[in-house]
Homo-oligomer: 302 residues x 2
């Protein structure tokens, strides 16, 4: 059983097939969010604060923090966001950037053992990111593409993952500190995307014995009823071995799929979490998904 331990100053999260699925809260990410990007570039992090608090309240075990704003001082902004989010919540963070200087400035201020998002199988990325991971004692997301791009052959993507794990070992980073992203393709474009992912996930779990993560919403790109498709994707990927995902815990269908999968996999003893989350009737003043679900029902009845 491979256990990836990520921590903040006061809290540990374990990614492992014998633990509840780890939800890495998405959305502190200005990509495609113009208003957020403009605010963050101006040093206004109020939305970052609100997002962080809402997602942790909704059940995120970790948070992904990204400051990818074109022409902005990303190393400075990412470090400020990391410090801010760590001051607001105790969940461990995933520090997310494609700029190595930004990853380093984020790691420099981070308290605990971070998950760095990400390295690929490209030689140049491996040689610049892995030394940082080792220096700061972090864990890293390894994305299964390399100089040749993203293969449609899942076994080629598996070989890229293997190469990342091997390079990490050369830098003294153990396999349990490499979390592989098998790369989820949009199923609307590549019909075999689900079976591809299931195939890689099983090989990652059984052969390479590493943990895994992914961006859960890529699968449904371009399709109607994306939350419904994301939900099916998450349950089925968890069944195939997926142990964490970047997703938004405020989305109820995805959360039900994840929490239901934890029950199915025997990781929610006595269904305690499920019952707590979905029990009725509501205690007075209850918040979160459950309250919203009830509210939805009330309105539908009205």
């Amino acid at each position: 059983m491979t256990r990836t331990v990520i921590s903040s100053a006061t809290k540990e999260v374990i990614i492992s097939v014998d633990q509840p699925f780890v939800i890495i809260g998405e959305r502190i990410n200005p990509t495609g969010r113009k208003l957020l990007a403009a605010e963050m570039a101006d040093g206004d992090y109020s939305r970052v604060e609100a997002d962080a608090l809402a997602q942790v309240a909704a059940g995120a075990h970790m948070r992904d923090v990204n400051a990818g704003i074109p022409l902005a001082d990303e190393p400075k902004i990412l470090a400020e966001c990391v410090e801010l989010v760590q001051s607001l919540t105790n969940v461990p963070l995933s520090i997310d950037s494609s700029i190595v200087a930004a990853l380093e400035s984020g790691l420099a201020v981070y308290k605990g053992k971070a998950l760095v998002n990400s390295v690929t199988g490209e030689e140049e990325r491996l040689e610049t990111v892995l030394p940082l991971i080792k220096k700061y004692g972090a864990a890293v997301v390894g994305i299964s593409n390399d100089e040749t791009g993203i293969s449609e052959d899942p076994d080629v993507r598996f070989e890229v993952a293997k190469k990342i794990v091997e390079h990490a070992a050369d830098y003294g980073i153990p396999a349990e500190d490499v979390v592989i992203d098998p790369l989820v393709m949009p199923v609307g474009a590549i019909n075999d995307a689900g079976r591809q992912v299931a195939h890689i996930l099983r090989r990652l779990r059984d052969e390479l014995k590493v943990n895994s993560t992914c961006g859960a919403s890529n699968f449904s790109f371009g399709l109607p009823n994306r939350h419904g498709m994301n939900a099916a994707f998450l349950s089925m990927s968890i069944g195939a071995g997926l142990t964490s995902a970047i997703t938004n815990p405020l989305h109820d269908p995805e959360m039900q799929a994840i929490k239901g999968a934890d029950v199915f996999m025997g990781r929610d003893p006595n269904c305690k979490d499920w019952i707590k989350k979905y029990r009725e009737p509501a205690p007075e003043g209850a918040e979160g998904d459950n309250a919203r679900r009830r509210e939805g029902r009330r309105r539908r009845r009205a």
Copy 2:
């Protein structure tokens, strides 16, 4: 690839791992439905009619018909219901009774190749039901319990399934005409129920090479948010090899889980069915789940 072909007079349904998941519409079943039972005992089948039409419109590929009413003339009622439902819809039927005489009277009037629900691994049941299956050229659901009850050991349940398939072969019934129900336990009582089912399903698919079915709602018995749990159960069981289930296609979470699983498994070319079912905006006068979902959203927005 094992293909179980079930048919009505004019329509064929194929249960197979390379085909869309087969939804056997539940609920023409008076068990626990007092009003329906009383009406059916009086020869009033109006609710049977309405149920049948609604479920087929919502996407049931087959219908389960049960007339288990205490002290009523079950053989007569079941035969009448089979004839009625066959006159209303063209979907193949699952003829469901624990009384052998009722199964025979249903089979006698059925046009096509029925699925008989069910036989168990009990010697006495095998010896009375299997000859009927052979006589009418039907297929049969084999439930993986025997004289000793339902084992909590999934490998024992697998052995019972194997015994049913072997006995069927002795009567000249091929393995493709035996659809195994692995018996789904309530996960609220037996925490390992999900992993048990996944384990048996994989063995049924890979070793015994037979199709499978189950009552999808048993899993969530006693838990809150049963539809959400049924949805996760269905997606994950389909991933493990489940090829059909008795479920209610009018329940939207379950339908999304099934249709999403078909997409994930590569059984919905170009996501055509998914897009058709969940596409927006609605054509004028659209009916069914999609219309209800939109209506729900409209009210929530209001």
